[in-house]
């Protein structure tokens, strides 16, 4: 009995001390948490970022988390709700808009104005992609936008010699290459990546003040009807409107798709699955008109970050100079830093020449970026618009009816609080 009591006291004292000292240690340590987006293999470069950062902030520890694209948003949001949001985040596409609009991100405008040496290195057209309500919330970590990959073998088989130059030609070529299990055209559809197909026909999603839907026009009806017809005929593969990443890129890798409208990272993905892919068999060019939808990754700082100045220093290290170069080499991407990209092209030409034509497209036509509206309700608009578009493209509704329904829904999203 006495032994029991003594043991209880010993354990009790031990736990009490552990709690007191544990808390004290945690409080004494300054930490910044960095959440990256599906680059767990990027280890050496990240270590370099941390080493460089600790040269100027030796008292701050960097902790890293990495999440796959499918779980990133869920993870970040639950962390925000729990009050433990990662301090620095690497975000893809337009997800950040919602956070910025709700006041969840640090406004980086003043930092960008102050650090002109840094800002001058970044492409202004790309930097503009993270402006909401006149304030800049992010800087490019690595850049990507859509382009047209084409299967040269299927082109040859169909008697085609060069990529299409207009929307009509795109559909005509797609029809020529469709036969049996083969489809002429496929596009990725998430994050507005299909929008260049509409942009090249002059379709606008919203009015310039972003307050009303602007897409319900006779021209859009015509374009949708053409796309729906090509889809029903099999010239456009139906997975274009339902698949996400693996299905469309996997289909292109299987050699059964004539043209794939996707963003640059798709290239190394399908190349890794398809030994037949090389410069002689796959071409990379712009979709007619040069339109493209960016899907770059940016670095942003959560509003709850206790050390925003230090976080900004980390962001600068990761997105420019040697840090950006390490990222480019480590992930085979271009960065937002103009000077670094010149070095990266030298590196890719020497080491992965096949990717060079793809990456070249990423720095061209930067004045023709589309599908990138700084609307706070980006995700909700997408959710209201896309299912209706899908119903027209897959033959469930007429283009006219689908656009009318989409207009009603989008306007309601824009009107309500």
């Amino acid at each position: 009995m006495k032994i029991d009591r003594t043991l209880t006291w010993v354990f009790g004292a031990f736990f009490a001390l552990a709690i007191i000292f544990g808390t004290a240690t945690a409080q004494a340590e300054k930490t910044l948490t960095v959440l990256t987006w599906n680059i767990p293999y990027f280890q050496d470069g990240f270590t370099k970022w941390v080493t460089d950062f600790n040269k100027i902030h030796p008292d701050i520890k960097i902790e890293r988390l990495d999440k796959k694209g499918t779980e990133w948003s869920t993870f970040y949001q639950t962390q925000v709700v729990a009050g433990t949001a990662p301090d620095i985040i690497d975000v893809q596409g337009g997800l950040w808009l919602e956070y910025a609009a709700k006041g969840g991100l640090v406004d980086l405008t003043s930092y960008l104005k102050r650090d002109q040496d840094y800002t001058k290195r970044i492409y202004p057209e790309i930097l503009k992609g993270w402006v909401y309500d006149g304030r800049n919330y992010g800087v490019p970590l690595y850049i990507s936008k859509t382009l047209l990959f084409y299967n040269k073998l299927m082109f040859k088989e169909a008697g085609l010699t060069e990529p299409p130059k207009s929307f009509d030609e795109l559909l005509e070529y797609a029809r020529k290459m469709s036969k049996g299990e083969k489809s002429g055209f496929m596009t990725l559809n998430f994050d507005w990546l299909y929008w260049p197909l509409l942009a090249m026909n002059g379709v606008e999603l919203l009015t310039p003040d972003l307050k009303k839907a602007a897409f319900n026009t006779p021209k859009t009806v015509e374009v949708l009807e053409a796309l729906a017809k090509a889809t029903q005929e099999g010239a456009i593969n139906k997975i274009s409107w339902t698949g996400r990443w693996v299905e469309p890129n996997g289909a292109f890798a299987a050699g059964t798709i004539g043209m794939l409208h996707a963003h640059a990272p798709a290239f190394l993905w399908f190349k890794s699955k398809a030994p037949w892919v090389n410069e002689d068999t796959v071409g990379a060019t712009h979709i007619p008109g040069g339109w493209s939808t960016p899907n770059s990754h940016s670095m942003l700082i959560s509003k709850s970050c206790k050390y925003p100045d230090a976080a900004w220093d980390f962001v600068k290290i990761a997105t420019s100079g040697e840090g950006a170069y390490a990222l480019g080499v480590g992930t085979n991407n271009l960065t937002g830093d103009k000077i670094v990209n010149e070095q990266l092209f030298e590196y890719f030409t020497k080491n992965i020449p096949a990717v060079v034509p793809v990456l070249k497209t990423q720095l061209e036509y930067l004045d023709k970026l589309c599908g990138n509206w700084p609307a706070a309700k980006d995700a909700e608009i997408k959710e209201a618009f896309y299912p209706e578009l899908q119903s027209a493209l897959l033959g469930q509704k007429s283009a006219k009816a689908a656009l009318a329904d989409a207009e009603k829904k989008v306007n309601r999203v824009l009107r309500k609080r």
């Binding site: 949001q77 709700v81 956070y99 299990e181 909700e380 299912p387 899908q390 897959l394 309601r412």
Partner: protein, 301 residues
């Protein structure tokens, strides 16, 4: 008398003592979130701002303006209503493999094999089977001359949900079969023998003996089917992500979309409450069907 009362009190205390940890966890992880969810559904809530009282705004939005919610609810009901198809098939297979057929253990194993497969894998397998261009189903149908062009099963607004239901039934049918098979094996053979002597046909024996005595097993399968229809998130997410449009969205997938893709936690909370009430109604009905005593504890009278 006092001794009996004292003993009963002691027994009750002991019961409470044993269930207290589970009850505490259940309260913390189920009851409190549910209550918090109810509060959230009446607010305009964002992790970045102070909450505002929203009255019934989200419920009004859901019931009167959100077509996708109704579609998801309807799909959930359809999936739930499909449970008897799976049970009937499982019963058919169970009766078959319960006979003295040669290699019956192999058949049982083959049928059961789908159940332990991860739902994500099931989704991927069926996604490829249904593929319009390279899917096995279309290949077979074209080879047999039944169709001349592949059917876009999962890209069709009309076929996508039935296709998901088929995959869902395929996955769970082995489990149903095991439950029903154990029920079948508990039926005394003497009942069949005496019925046969009395001149009952095979169908009559099935109708008058097998079915009534299998009622508890069938009921269990039905409950599992209903629960599956509410929680079948992963299969839908992998196969169709709720699309095309919202053709395969279930309440659970739509709630996920609203909460985590649209960041509308308050609205998702309102939908969760409706989902909960719907499920509660079904549970009460099921309890009534089971005689109203499901889960009751007999502490001795």
């Amino acid at each position: 008398m006092q001794l009996i009362k004292k003993k009963r009190t002691r027994e009750l205390l002991l019961i409470w003592f044993f269930i207290a940890p589970s009850l505490a966890i259940f309260t913390l992880y189920r009851i409190v979130p549910l209550l918090w969810n109810g509060v959230l559904s009446l607010q305009f809530w964002s992790p970045y701002k102070l909450p505002e009282f929203a009255k019934l705004y989200h419920y009004e939005e859901m019931l009167f303006y959100d077509d996708a919610f109704w579609q998801a609810l309807w799909n959930t009901i359809i999936l739930m209503a499909s449970a008897p198809i799976g049970i009937a098939l499982a019963l058919f297979i169970a009766v078959l493999v319960d006979t003295q057929v040669r290699g019956r253990n192999i058949y049982r194993t083959i049928v059961f094999m789908s159940y332990p497969v991860m739902t994500v894998a099931v989704g991927i397998i069926w996604q490829w089977l249904y593929n319009e261009k390279v899917g096995l189903i279309n290949y077979v149908l074209i080879s047999l001359g039944i169709i001349d062009r592949g059917i876009p099963f999962l890209e069709s607004f009309d076929l996508a949900l039935p296709c998901v239901i088929v995959a869902s039934i395929w996955q769970v049918i082995g489990f149903y079969m095991i439950i029903l098979l154990s029920g079948l094996q508990n039926i005394p053979p003497s009942l069949y023998e005496s019925a046969a002597i009395d001149g009952a046909t095979a169908w009559m024996r099935f109708q008058r003996i097998t079915l009534p005595l299998l009622k508890p097993s069938i009921f269990l399968c039905f409950v599992i089917g209903i629960i599956n229809s509410f929680t079948n998130f992963d299969l839908v997410y992998v196969m169709t992500q709720g699309g095309p449009g919202h053709a395969t969205d279930l309440l659970i997938t739509y709630i996920y979309t609203v909460a985590f893709k649209l960041s509308k936690f308050d609205y998702a909370a309102a939908m969760t409450i409706v989902n909960f009430l719907f499920f509660l109604g079904l549970a009460l009905l099921a309890n009534k069907a089971a005689g109203g005593e499901a889960g009751a504890i007999d502490v001795g009278k």
